[in-house]
Amino acid sequence: MERILFGDNQFFAVNHISDEKSMAQSIKFKEDSAIIKTLDYAMEAGVNTFMCTTHDRIANICEIIRNNPEKYKDFKIFPCMPYAHKYANAVTELGITGTLKQYVPGNFFGSLFKGGVAFLSKDYLKIMELLIDAEMKMFKGIQTPVIFLQNVITDMLLGLGMKDVLIAFHQYVEKKYDAEAGFITMNLPKLLEVLESGGIRNPIICSSINKAGFRMSGGKALYEETLKTKKFRAIAMQVLAGGAVSPKEAIEYVCKLPNIESILFGASSRTNINETTSLIHQFDAAK
């Protein structure tokens, strides 16, 4: 994994500190070209990995990437699935069965034998595999070396004690896509314990890690201890803690922590992209 990963929250009006900013972002990134332009700024700053949710609009971005193979030859995407809102809305409207019908490729109950049998026999892991395939369709022909499970699902499975499902995700991604599985979580220490007990060694885990202790469930001290003593590949996200810490302080804190393989950040402007990347380089060099 590259040291710096570029995130997508800003493109989809996800803002943890202000509903007003969220609306402004929604206006700014209305056109796909605005997203592409911002990705270009990130690439100019040396960031070639885009970590993004499987939002419908990402399909358009993938199309542009596929159509410009020379420009994007070193470009990688880390898909994060599922885009939960899509399914939540569908379940409200169509019910669980209707949702599966809509999202699973082919005719779920007819020609696609695998789906029909999986549904009737309540083989949920098989259904999950079909949904992963559905989500991965948009990335065809694009390098996706790491595929993530979104925190809403990871953490729900964690709370429900459904370890086998987490492991099944890990195995399927490896087998079918020749990719590594990653897990996004707001509960890093708990998740790591469960993954380790399920026999997953050195997992890729992306979680909130910041100087303010924001969204670090169980506390900052426990996270620092986990980073120091456990074996896993950490990606730090929400490093700016929604603006609670100054960028300089925020990046210095994360760069000095042991065992952080990558730092994920998102930004809407060229200035902010350049500022954050150069701060990371500056504090990395000082180590």
């Binding site: 929604s26 729900m156 709370g159 429900l160 169980g218 929604g242």
Partner: protein
Amino acid sequence: MGISHLAILGAHPDVQVVGVCDTSKMMLDAIEKYSSFPCFTDYKKMLQDAKPDAVLVAVPTKFHAAIVEELLNQNIHVFAEKPFCLNPEQGAPLVALAKQKGLVNQVGYHNKFVGTFQEVKRIIDGGYIGEVYHFLGQAYGPVVVKAKQDTWRSNPEEGGGCLMDYASHVIDLINYILAPITEVKATILKSIFSKDVDDAVYSMLQLSNKVTGVLSVNWSDETFRKMSTSISINGKKGKIVSDANELKVYFKEEPFPEGYSKGWNIRHVTDLTPEVDYYLRGEEYSAQIDYFVKTLQGKVPNSINSFESAWLTDKAISLIRKEQR
């Protein structure tokens, strides 16, 4: 059912989940197969076999009253989802019963566990913006953004509609931060895409302390990515504008709360939210369940989101509906 509630309970170190009951076969099968929770299809059988100390009720609102009554009669502590009941007449005897039996009772109005709104309450209670003369409570989001969709949420007899399901959050917040709504001047309930229920609520309210204000809620507004709840309050010495993420407060003159100064001040939920032990979709969801558990353990009083406060919200809902123009 409340799959998120179940996950939060499952992760809580002081809670042992002794039973899960649901009518969705698909959901229950998945839980049975991949988690270790005992599953039931009949809640009365669950009570009999599992003998729980407390039960979390997350079923459609129309079933709340009967189930909660049964639980209280069996001396079981109750956490019920919001709104409490279909009308205040249903809820009143339950408030009394819980009190009489000395059972812990809580309703899931999670906004009271959001850091910014807690801070708003602190500022108001301290009298820092002076005499309050107006408020505006709002919530917008993309729940029903096109015609069709027929679920219990679209049936007015079952607790569907924007007023009961969505505006109730804002009403409860106004009741909590300022004072209970006791009079309604006028209401517009608007159906935008739904056939049988309201999709928007606009209402002019008066509180028990005679303060007046406006309620504006619309769940058919797709310009919002998810539910956005906010409250603004005008006082003679200042003004507060707050949503779940950001609190803006203007002070005209001293005294200010510690750390604040004259003019505009901004605080973010990141600074105001205590860490939780397990996070799913928002600190407030874990915090409210943790509060319920702590009440059971006798560590905190049963004062936030009691049946009684949720019943006052049900009462306000019925007043708002009655004054429909």
